[in-house]
Symmetry: C2
Subunit: 451 residues, 2 copies
């Protein structure tokens, strides 16, 4: 990134002084993936010029394909519909789908209309699959051969594929109905003696995914079986396309960001350098929801006004109750959400996970309750205050453990994202119980505390 | 996972009734990666039997290699030193290093002593590199050829490599000093006419990483350039090994888990089904630290005892201040930590990121401050209470934005993990300022509030 700052400075100077030939040389020496960060540092007119230069070098599509998707709108704004259609027409299906999804809705129609008919047809087909499914992230160029083909013939088929060959990692063996029978890794094909047949070389019963499968599940499968690519099939096991490992890495990274973001109540598109007004618009609704939750807590505390008026010391310890309960809840929530995301936890073993989190939380509640009770006693001189804090801590931590473990599992069982909104929900419920327990027990022991 | 529950049940029944031949057949029909979840569901004596069966089939190493690392200690406990050494001796260097790292310290010496000398030497060399560096996660089997070698000769070299060939994705072209000159993707080699030389086919100036590089940076490079493997070189650009994309996926998944865990104050090893006593031991120190932080807050509130005694209503709104500040801080923290992890943010652009987070936080503070001030006024009838809440919210959110953005950047600049401990630190500081501002302004407007 430090390098790209430097490159941006040089490129701008070259553009400003009209030295396009040198700018072009600079651009051509960069790897496609390195051009993205540079593009994002330029002004819209500069972007337009650079895209023009890249076009002249036939490098626009390969550059834009490598851009982090959140930078796309900025680039799209600087490029006309026709240019954009030319770029999109050169992309693989998965990138085409992604680009069209990131286009402003009003531009989508006109840009797609400018695409060649074959591409339009492919797009239409991909859009039949659910969002984020395998059918939308697969590429449709692959090599499918008959069992009887020899290794030598297969190698020749790869040679004929020309440019497309660069994308080949596996050969797919299909029967006369195009049903997937096996997979020959390229490495095995190369190592085999030329006369061997694909039917002998292939891995039988290969791992495959359905076109309707969620991309997150596909990523888990590729990661689990250490694949370089996974074939996508229809309901009759006919091969439709392939998902490659580089796209799987993007999915894994994206899903991890999503989970972290959702736990904090952030929207995926709220990135470090997205404009401030954008971040404000995305975060405000969530913060207002959170505000409502905290006002609910204020109302509960208000129910104990009489107690608090007499024993103001109780107010000191409210952040102790809230802080510990909140933390305990977030810990359980994080462990469970992550386990769901990694496929380590299904609903069937959910009860076991909840039991574990609750017992952990209770033990921690007992220990921290004893410590905080002792401290409160030493500080304020009231053993009863210590008792109130001790009892509260155990109750609060138990609730935190239950809520933190159960909420994501229940959301998952309801077909929802287990992370969305669960952070604020878990901490609010925990605090509600925590404050009620603390001030309730305090009210019960009112006379004892009133010394 | 549902399937593996079923398989576990069948396998247990076969083992209990001594039907080892059928158990063996069942095991042999499973993919190596599917045996891991099954193993983890068995008792130690059952594990021992299954490992024995896998040994007879030469499948123990391939099975254990695919296990999620957190299951290893459980399996290791059930296997003797000699068996374990036999398994480890068959692994690639990266897996050897990982297995030895997961061994109990007292077993490490004896088990390593049982390894063949070549493996011991490799391990010793790997341990010279820093933990989590490329030198420890690379494999050392790769094919390095001279520029003059033809495509046909290269293919023959792959055939001779036999078993090892399965791991080959790229050929590495080196000069007489073993310095890396270029890379030939296997796909390009296959597509090339047999007489072409590697020197013409190779990608020049290939992406490579230094052996000392952190595995997280390596993963970013592989993801960014869509590589299937990246060569690892020493200070003189001599090739030492290769890191493949399947290991990179593990690193990315692991690092994402780590970041989420660290933000919540969890240790990496605290997984959903690790034993409860283990989780308690790992979480307690953190929770006690958190307890100390909340007591600091209690002490600060205690400073305002006189104010609170007279205007107990202020106590109702303390959770509003803490809840909003805490959330704002965690949002900024999450955006910045994730951007650091994805390499989107360097220290040089840090100030820009902090500025953005602070302006976002201030605007959100103004809006939520106005809403909560109005609500407090309507509820409690005191316009001054509304003013106190409005002013507090802006101050608290601004502090939350500064701390959430700056703390991870400072930790990163100090060479620390930006996520470790930053959650509790950011929320504690924010709450400290928030409560002080709230009760301080309340004290200043004491007479106005006292109606």
């Amino acid at each position: 990134m430090a390098n790209s700052q430097e490159t941006i400075r040089i490129l701008r100077r070259l553009l400003a002084s009209g030295m396009t030939a040198r700018a072009q040389r600079l651009l051509s020496r960069m790897r496609p993936a390195d051009r993205g960060p540079v593009l994002s540092g330029l002004t819209p007119p500069e972007i337009r010029t650079v895209i023009d230069l890249l076009f002249q070098q036939q490098r626009a599509a390969s550059t834009l394909r490598e851009l982090p998707p959140e930078l796309l709108p900025q680039i799209f704004d600087a490029v006309g519909d026709e240019r954009l259609a030319q770029v999109i027409a050169r992309l693989e299906l998965d990138d085409m789908v992604e680009f069209v999804e990131w286009l402003d809705e009003e531009r989508r129609g006109p840009v797609v209309a400018l695409l060649p008919e074959t591409q339009r047809a492919e797009l239409r087909k991909a859009e039949l699959y659910p969002p984020s499914s395998a059918g939308r992230v697969m590429v449709t160029r692959f090599l499918a051969l008959d069992e009887g083909v020899t290794a030598q013939e297969a190698i020749e088929a790869i040679r004929e594929a020309g440019d497309d060959a660069e994308a080949i990692l596996y050969l797919y063996v299909v029967d006369e109905k195009q049903q997937l029978r096996g997979v020959v890794p390229l490495r095995r094909l190369v190592a085999a003696s030329p006369a061997r047949r694909c039917g002998e070389l292939m891995v039988q019963d290969p791992v495959s995914v359905r076109a309707e499968a969620d991309q997150e599940d596909v990523a888990q499968i590729v990661a689990r079986y250490n694949l370089l690519a996974v074939p996508v099939v229809d309901g009759e096991n006919r091969i439709l396309g392939v998902i490659t490992v580089d796209d799987v890495i993007d999915v894994i990274t994206e899903e991890a960001t999503e989970d972290m973001y959702h736990l904090a109540g952030l929207s995926d598109e709220d990135r470090v350098f997205s404009p401030a007004h954008h971040a404000i618009r995305k975060r405000l609704p969530w913060m207002l929801l959170n505000l409502g939750a905290t006002f609910l807590l204020a109302w509960v505390i208000g129910l104990f006004e009489r107690t608090l008026e007499q024993i103001v010391t109780l107010a000191f310890f409210m952040p102790v109750v809230a802080g510990m309960g909140g933390n305990g809840g977030i810990q359980a929530l994080t462990v469970i959400t992550r386990a769901i995301a990694l496929g380590e936890l299904e609903f069937s073993s959910g009860l076991r996970a909840i039991r574990k989190e609750v017992s952990v939380a209770i033990v921690i509640g007992i220990v921290t309750g004893a410590v905080s009770g002792a401290f409160a006693y030493l500080w304020q001189g009231s053993p009863y205050l210590g008792v109130v804090l001790f009892a509260t801590m155990i109750i609060t931590m138990a609730i935190a453990g239950i809520m933190g473990a159960a909420v994501p599992l229940i959301l998952k069982a309801l077909g929802q994202d287990p992370a969305v909104g669960s952070g604020v929900f878990v901490t609010t419920i925990t605090d509600l119980f925590g404050f009620s327990a603390f001030l309730g027990i305090g009210t019960l022991l009112f006379d004892r505390l009133l010394i």
